[in-house]
Each structure stands twice: as C-alpha cells, then as structure tokens.
C-alpha cells in the first residue's frame, strides 16, 4: 500500500492546501511534499523487485484489485514498481519538493491553488509511473495534463493562454492517437488477454498471440504484422509528441517559455519523461519486432532531434527557450538509446531520463532564480550576472556543464551509456554512423550554453530592466544546490540507479536482441 500512500498523501494534501490561506500554502505544500519524498526514498532503499514489471518480473510494492469489467476485458487497479519506474518515482518526488521550494519567490498570487495543483500533479505522476493497468495508467496520464494546463495558463508569462491551450490540445491529441494504437493491439490479441493489464498484454504479445484484426463489414482483416506495425507507429507518434521528438516538438518551447519556473521544472524534469517511459514500456517492450523493423527511421528521427533541437537552441536568445530546445535535443538521445536495443542503450536511455530530469530541472530552476531577480530572460538584456549572484551563477555553470555531458555528472554517464549501447547495436544498421552523428550534439550543446553563459553571466554587469539584483534567497539556493549534489552523486556513482535499471531493462533488450 505504499504506492497508494504515495498517491493519496499529495492528493489529500492538494485538497488541504487548496483551501488553506494563501500565506501558509507554500510551507504547507512543502511539508506535504516531504512525506512522499521520504516515502519514496524509503521505497528506494527497501526496493526488492527484480526484472521488468511487464515481462513477468518481480514487482515491488504491488497492489491489485478489480475495478471494472468491459465485455471480455477486466480493468483492474494494479500498481507496482520495478527498476525502471522506481527511479522515476523518486525523481518525481524530489523534483516536486524542490519545485515547490523554487516557487516561493515567483508565485505571489493564488498560492493555495498553485501548490494544490503541484501536489495534485505529483500524485498523478506517481500514478503514471506506478500503474500497471492500461486504463488506470491512462487516467493518471491524462490527469497530469490538467494541473499543468493551469500552471501554465494561470501563472505563466504573457502568451500563457496560447501556450497552455497548445500544450493541452496537442498532447491530448497525441494521447488519443496513442490510445487508438494501443487498442488496436488489444483487439488484435482477441481472446488471448482478459484484461487491460499491461503485463498480461505484453506477455501475450511476446507469446506471439497477436492475430489478425477483422474489419467487420468488409470481410477483410488487417494481418497481424500490419496491425502491429501500425499500432507501433500510432503509439510512437503519440508518445513522440510527449517526449517531444522532432517534428512534434513545437508545443514545448511555447509551453516552457510561458510556464512559471516550477512548472517548467516539472514539465522538463518529469513530464517529458512520461513520453520516453511510455515508449519504453509500450513500444519497445511490447513490440520489439516492429521496433527493430523501424529501427532506421526511428534512429534517424532521434538524430534529427538531437542535432536540429540543438541548432534551434543555438538560434534562441531567451534563456528558457534555449533550455527548452535543448531538452528536445537531449531527449533524442533517449530515443537513440531505446532503439539500439542493447544493454547499455536501453539502460542508458532509462538513466538519461533521470539525468536529464535532474539537469534540465536544475537549469530551469536557475533560470527562474535569475528571472526573479532581473525580470528578464533575454540573453541580450543582461550581462555579468555572476557579479551579483555568484552562487546562482556557479550553479548555472554547473548545470550547463552537466548538460554538456561533463564527466562525473549524471549527464555524461547517461550519454556515455547510450552511445556505447547505440554504437554496438545489432539492431540498427550503420549504428556507428548514427551514433557518431547524434554525438555531434555534444559540440553544439556546448556552443549554445557557453555562448549564453558568456553573454548573460559574464562580462561587465549590465541589466536592461530596472531591478535591484541581489543574492538569491536561501530556499532557492538550497533547491538548486541540492540538485547539483544529486547530479554529481549520480554522475560519479551511476551504479546507485543503474543496477536496478539494467536489471529491469535486460529482458527488454533480450527480446530485441534475440530477433534475427
């Protein structure tokens, strides 16, 4: 019942915070979010699962009871954590707590609603990563969007309305596409599955029970392989929007730029990971054969995301936009790692989810701290901030270098694993070329981050806006410094998470690897 507690505490907390007086909301929210944080850390320490949750692994903290029945399908309440989802849950609780800290300064309006939504989102995110039944998962999946919509729409920047609607509608359409794709699979399985449980479906697919899907009325049927391929594509496109993968990425910069800092942190840190998590869980775990068939286009998309995203970041002058586009770039690595279907590729992709979550969260938070002080994010509007805000600037430097894949920080470990895995991929033709092309991203990322830092942090102090720039408040510094610590910790000791991740992904790899 620990997972339920992890969901229920923020949910109840959200309700409490939402009716609390504004002036107590922030402290209350911090207190509430500490509970799941501690809980998830405990769960990390006491984790005893093994294997992949979908492929018959030993799931930790499992709960199961019946919910609905729908024709031949039982829809159950089924949650549990394995080595892939547990780290993501921990990251969610960590980032939520830190985002709440980082919200203290910028959010000066309707605080109780804000913190209520943050906690609500935390609950939904934990649900997304823990759910093992498709419908339950989908409920959480969609529930995440609602608070984010408000967070962007209410507390966002000048074009927040456009950004919020775009985010909301775009990602929802993607969910629909994915939903359709998934259900095509379920129907193709026919009587082989009796529920919408993900493990059941994954294992039925693995057992090759996917049949042709009859097209009633025409007498024709979609053959199983066509069905699987189209389902794969539909799900891939659906999740690709979330990740986001070029060319489905244009909602992201808008959303990020307009979102308030804590929302950006959660968006980049956790929400994007939903997409890659789902890709791993659905596309790459359930349909390895299709994934390997489409390996080249997928890898191409990944490479394009990396390079094109980095180029776009280079063209921006809004710090947040830079970080936003660089997320597109970084998430391309994850796709590349997944499609490699190798031990280090998939494991590294999983690790990159965490690494990128922490690093991009850190950068957004730091940009937010600057913004709080300067009220601008345009690179050209400021310079020499390091002069006035040395600690924050140092943290930004640390975050930027982590983003560039500086060794001994989490990003390097992740990228190294991905590159190693992708380079040797047996699934991907010309794997070294794809890998080398994607790796060029590390140069471009250095280019735009260094350039941005040079122009905004260094040089003589100058600010176009009329604000007194002083040192950042303690809670902001605490949040960002904590993240730096975590990033260095994971970068020097990736084993802390990589062990359980690889344990959970090795089954997936074997499925892909064993194919001819």
């Amino acid at each position: 019942m620990l997972v339920e507690a992890l969901i229920a505490v923020p949910l109840v907390g959200a309700a409490v915070v939402a009716v609390a007086p504004n002036e107590y909301a922030e402290r209350l929210a911090l207190g509430v979010s500490a509970v799941p944080l501690v809980g998830s850390l405990y769960m990390y320490l006491a984790f005893d699962g093994s294997g992949n949750a979908l492929l018959g692994g030993d799931v930790a903290y499992e709960t199961f009871f019946e919910w609905l029945t729908l024709g031949p399908y039982a829809v159950n309440y089924h949650v549990g954590l394995d080595g892939v989802s547990l780290p993501l849950v921990v990251m969610t609780t960590v980032l939520t707590t830190l985002s709440i800290l980082s919200a203290w300064t910028p959010i000066d309006d309707r605080q109780r609603q804000f913190y209520g939504l943050m906690l609500f989102m935390e609950a939904a995110l934990v649900g997304v990563f823990a759910a093992l039944d498709f419908l339950l998962w989908f409920v959480f999946w969609e529930a995440v969007l609602v608070p984010m919509y408000f967070l962007i729409g209410v507390w966002g920047g000048p074009r927040r309305k456009y950004a919020a609607i775009k985010f909301f509608v775009y990602t929802n359409i993607a969910s629909l596409v994915m939903f359709i794709g998934f259900f095509a699979l379920v129907f193709g399985l026919g009587d082989a599955v009796g529920s919408t449980g993900l493990p059941e479906i994954a294992q039925a697919l693995r057992a090759g029970q996917l049949g042709a899907l009859g097209l009633p009325g025409t007498g024709a049927a979609i053959p199983a392989d066509v069905l699987a391929l189209s389902a794969f594509v539909a799900m891939f496109v659906g999740f690709a929007v979330k990740v986001p993968v070029v060319p489905f990425h244009t909602w992201l910069p808008d959303a990020h730029v307009e979102a308030p800092t804590p929302a950006s942190v959660m968006l980049a840190g956790v929400l994007l990971k939903m997409g890659t998590y789902a890709l791993l869980r659905f596309n790459f775990t359930m349909l390895p054969e299709q994934a390997t068939t489409l390996a080249v286009p997928i890898a191409a998309v990944a490479v394009v995301s990396v390079i094109y995203g980095a180029l776009l970041a280079l063209a921006q002058s809004d710090l947040k936009r830079i970080v936003a586009y660089s997320s597109v770039s970084s998430m391309g690595y994850v796709i590349l790692g997944l499609v490699a279907y190798s031990y280090y590729g998939v494991g590294g992709a999983t690790f990159q989810m965490i690494a990128h979550g922490l690093i991009s969260g850190l950068l957004f938070m730091t940009v937010g701290v600057f913004y709080n002080a300067t009220h601008t994010r345009m690179v050209g509007d400021m310079s020499g901030l390091a002069d006035r805000m040395p600690v924050t600037a140092s943290v930004f430097v640390a975050g930027a270098f982590a983003y560039m894949g500086l060794p001994l920080m989490a990003g390097f470990a992740a990228e190294l694993f991905i590159f190693l895995g992708a380079f040797r991929s047996t699934v991907l033709p010309a794997a070294p070329l794809f890998t080398a092309a994607a790796m060029f991203g590390i140069v471009v990322v250095a280019g735009y981050l260094l350039w941005a830092m040079q122009r905004s942090l260094f040089g003589p102090f100058r600010l176009e806006t009329d604000y007194d720039v002083g040192r950042a408040p303690v809670h902001d510094v605490a949040a960002i410094v904590t993240l730096v610590g975590l990033i260095v910790l994971l970068g020097t000791a990736p084993e802390l998470l990589y062990d359980m991740m690889s344990d959970a992904t090795i089954d997936v790899v074997e499925m892909g690897g064993e194919l001819p």
């Binding site: 919910w67 609905l68 029945t69 729908l70 024709g71 031949p72 399908y73 309707r110 609603q113 419908l135 989908f138 409920v139 969609e142 529930a143 969007l145 609602v146 919509y149 408000f150 729409g153 209410v154 927040r160 309305k161 919020a164 609607i165 909301f168 509608v169 929802n172 359409i173 629909l176 596409v177 939903f179 359709i180 259900f183 095509a184 129907f187 009859g214 097209l215 009633p216 009325g217």
Partner: protein, 499 residues
C-alpha cells in the same frame, strides 16, 4: 401482483410529485412557499432515481415486467434511464429554487418539469409505438412551455417558438411514420411489429421503409441529431438555463431510450435489412447521423462566442457519440460487442446526465449573477466563485473526455464498443471530435481561471440550492470515474437484453 406494480414506482414518483404540486398550487395559490415546491419536485426526482437504482441493482422485482397488455415494459434499460431522468430532475428542481426566485408561476414551472419527467419515464418504458408517441408528446409539450417560461424575454420566446415549430413538424413526421409502420405491419406493439416486420419488408418494403425512416426522423428530433437539431441551439440558448439543462440531458436521453427500444426491438435489423427482405438499413442511417451529428456539433461549437450556445452545440456533438451505440449494431461484432456499444451509449448518457446538467446549471448560476453570455463574461470568475469554477472545470474536462470524471470511461466504452462492432472508424471520428472538443471546452476553463477578471463585476450572494446542485453534479461526475463500475454491468446486461 403487487410487486408487479412496484416496477412503476419511478414513473409513479414523478406523477405523484406532479399531482402534489397540483394540489399545493390549487390549495394555496398565493402564498406558496417556493422551497416547498422545489422540495416536492426534487423529492420526486430523488425518489424516482432511488427507486430505479434499487430496482436495477437489487432483485426487488422480476425484470423485465410487462404491464397493460404489453404496452409498457420495465426492464434494465428503462430503469437506467429513469435513474437518469430522476437525477436530472432532482438536480434541476433543486437548482431552480434559486433560479426562479422572484419569478411568477413557480408552481407551474415545477409542475411542467415533473410532468415532462413523467412523460420521459413513460418513454423509457414504452413498448408500443402508440405509447411512444403519447409519452413523447407528454414530455415535449411541457418542454415547449418551459422554454417559454421567461415570457417577457424575447430570447426565451423565440427559442420556444422554434422549438415548438420544429417539434410540431417532427412529431407529425413521427406520427406519419408510425402510421406507415402500422400500415405495413398492422400493429403498434413492438413485439408484434418485430414479428411482422420481416414479412412486411418483403411485401411493402417502401411503406415500411418510409415509415421507419420517418420514425427515425421523429426520434432524431428528440435527440437533437443532425439534421433535426436546428431547434437545439436556439432552445438551449434561449431557455432558462435549468430548463436547458433539463432538455439537453433528460429530454435527450429520453429520445435515445425510445430510439434504442424502437429500433432494436421493433425493427430488428436482420428482418428489415437483409438482402431478401430489405426495407431500410437503419443502422446505416444512424451511422450517417452519428458522423454528421458529432462532427457538425463539435465543429460548430468550436467557434461560438457564447458559452451557453457552445454547450448547446457540444450537446449535439454528444448526441452523435451516443448514436454510435446504434450505428454499431451492424451485426458484425456479435452480441457481445453490440451490447457493449449499446450499453456504452447508455452509460454515456448516464454520465452525461450529470456533467451536462451540471454545466448548464453553472450557466444558470451565471445568469443568476447576470454575468452575461460570452466567454469573456466568465473571465476570472474563479476568484469570486472558486468552488463553482472547480465544478465547472470538472464538467468541462469530463465532457471533453479527460479522465477527471466518468465522461472518460463512457467515451472509452463507446470506442471499445465501436471497435468491437467493426465500426472502428467511427471510433476514430469520435477521437478527432473529442480532440476538437477539448479545445472549446478548455476555453471556458481558460476564461474562468486564466483570464483576468472584469473590473465591474459584482457577485451578490451565493445561491445555496444552485450551489448544492452544481456541487452534487460535480461530485457525482468525479465519482463516476471509479464508480461507473456500479452501473456498467447493469448497462451491458440491459443492452444485451434489448438485443
């Protein structure tokens, strides 16, 4: 025998409430306490809903129970729908306490509501074309009057006029269709029509076919399906908001229960549309109707400037979703898939009963506060009325199919049913439309929460009954997400029993 009559308890509750209102109004014309009136009507609805639920979910009565020589039948379908009518009536009556405060003819208002509800509950139980027509008129006639309730309001009157004129046209079309069906089959009882349909389709395919199509037209009017929907935007917009809630939720559901029963029971598709005895393929007709209805409803809703009218069009769009239940009866997917589809339609109407009623009641709140009609009028309302806005947000997202309320599950069931029944592309159309609907529903949410409030707005007082109704609807909508499990079995069983 006594238990036999027990199954009429839901309809009886409505009728009793109506009669009680009659008496109250007759006895004490001038000083009638509005709370009492509202309470009586609400109690009628609650009792009807409760009785339906009890009958449906317990084994208190043997179902299906036929009454009056088979003219009426009470089965799972009728009980599910009387539950919807009861709930909507209760919510609307409760909300109307505040809404009609200060208006004349309150007793008549509640009387018309309860009478219309009585008509609807009869529609749910109708087992003969005659009863269908009578019950339909019984529910329609009070509705016309209800729309015109604000008789000094030109919008209300115009709405009533259009509603009435299109309604009268449709009811004559329906009646003419019934007469043709009677001409072809020689009976009005569903069972007899069904048994004669095959031969009639062989002998007089044209007469039967035209008859069925005209009946379809009459039903399409009641369900506000394209192209019989023209009255709906006007009526929903012009009518007092609680009445609009009542019409768009309960009245529409009543139209659907008639559609389900008439077409599924009286015109078995394999009798009227098989190659040897082909009169009319009404499944095909419903398919066309479903696509048109959801698409036109949603697309027209997307560009509205007024919230109420947007809701009116969205209500049309939802009718299109529900029509999928009938469009799925292609005979391809087997009984399981078809009962899933049809049951999903019922479940959608059930959830819709709460979320749509709630949404219109929220509009009623806006009218109570005299906010204005446009989206802009609701700008920043969340600051003044957070609870109501939370509720409205739940309604909007649930209507859009996000899993914050039961609307997600029922849409999901619809898609699953459609896919199972082989009309998977209808599921895709639904998906596209849902995506679009999210856009315009979220406009309301955006206005309430995101936009800056107008400066000169004054909210005087928070009407307790209206609030109670809205909050209840919201809570039920949310609870129906996990709680649809209570009803889904019953709905699928009911659908299977029809088929």
């Amino acid at each position: 025998m006594s238990r036999h009559w027990l199954v009429l308890a839901p309809a009886g509750a409505f009728l009793a409430a109506a009669l009680a209102l009659f008496v109250i109004d007759a006895v004490d014309r001038d000083s009638t306490n509005p709370t009492v009136l509202s309470a009586v009507a609400t109690a009628g609805g609650v009792v009807a809903a409760a009785a339906s639920a009890v009958l449906l979910l317990s084994n208190a009565a043997t179902l299906p129970a036929e009454l009056f020589g088979g003219q009426l039948v009470v089965d799972g379908t009728s009980l599910i729908f009387t539950f919807i009518f009861g709930s909507v009536t209760a919510l609307v009556s409760l909300a109307s306490l505040d809404y009609t405060r200060g208006l004349p003819f309150r007793a008549e208002y509640y009387l018309l509501v309860t009478l219309a509800a009585t008509g609807m509950s009869l529609m749910a139980s109708a087992n003969s074309l005659a009863v269908v027509f009578v019950a339909l008129e019984l529910s329609s006639l009070p509705s016309y009057a209800l729309v015109a309730y604000l008789k000094h309001n030109r919008g209300s009157v115009e709405a009533a006029l259009k509603y009435f004129l299109v309604g009268a046209l449709s009811s004559s079309i329906l009646l003419y269709g019934i007469s043709l069906v009677y001409a072809a089959t020689g009976s009005l009882l569903f069972a007899d029509v069904a048994s004669a349909a095959g031969e009639a389709a062989a002998t007089y395919p044209g007469v039967l076919g035209v008859g069925i199509l005209l009946v379809l037209g009459g039903v399409a009017f009641k369900t506000a399906s394209v192209p019989f929907h023209f009255w709906a935007p006007a009526a929903y917009e012009g009518a007092p908001a609680p009445v609009a809630a009542f019409l768009s939720s309960a009245s529409k559901a009543a139209g659907f229960v008639v559609a389900f029963r008439v077409f599924v029971v009286a015109f078995p598709i394999d009798a009227v549309a098989n190659p040897s005895t082909y009169a009319v393929d009404w499944v095909l007709a419903f398919t066309v109707l479903a696509v048109l209805t959801m698409t036109i409803g949603n697309f027209a809703a997307a560009t509205q400037e007024e919230v109420k009218r947007m809701l009116a069009y969205s209500s049309i769009g939802h009718a299109g979703y529900v029509l999928m239940g009938l469009a799925a009866l292609t005979g391809v997917g087997g009984v399981d898939a078809e009962s899933t589809a049809l049951g999903a339609s019922m479940l959608h109407l059930l959830v819709y009963g709460f979320m749509n009623t709630g949404a219109f009641l929220f509009i009623a709140l806006g009218e109570h506060w005299e906010l204005g009609r446009t989206f802009e009028a609701y700008n920043g309302l969340a600051e003044d009325a957070p609870v109501a806005c939370v509720a409205m947000t739940v309604f909007m997202f649930s209507l859009a199919g996000l899993p914050v309320g039961g609307g997600f599950l029922s849409k999901y069931f619809l898609v699953v049913g459609a896919i199972g029944a082989g009309v998977w592309w209808l599921g895709a159309v639904l998906a596209v439309n849902s995506a679009l609907s999210l856009f315009y529903y979220s406009r309301v949410v955006k206005a309430m929460w995101i936009e800056a409030p107008a400066d000169d707005r004054e909210i005087e007082g928070y009407p307790p009954a209206l609030y109670a109704a809205i909050v209840t609807a919201a809570v039920v909508t949310v609870l129906l997400l996990p709680g649809l499990a209570v009803f889904d079995g019953a709905a699928f069983d009911a659908a299977a029993a029809l088929l």
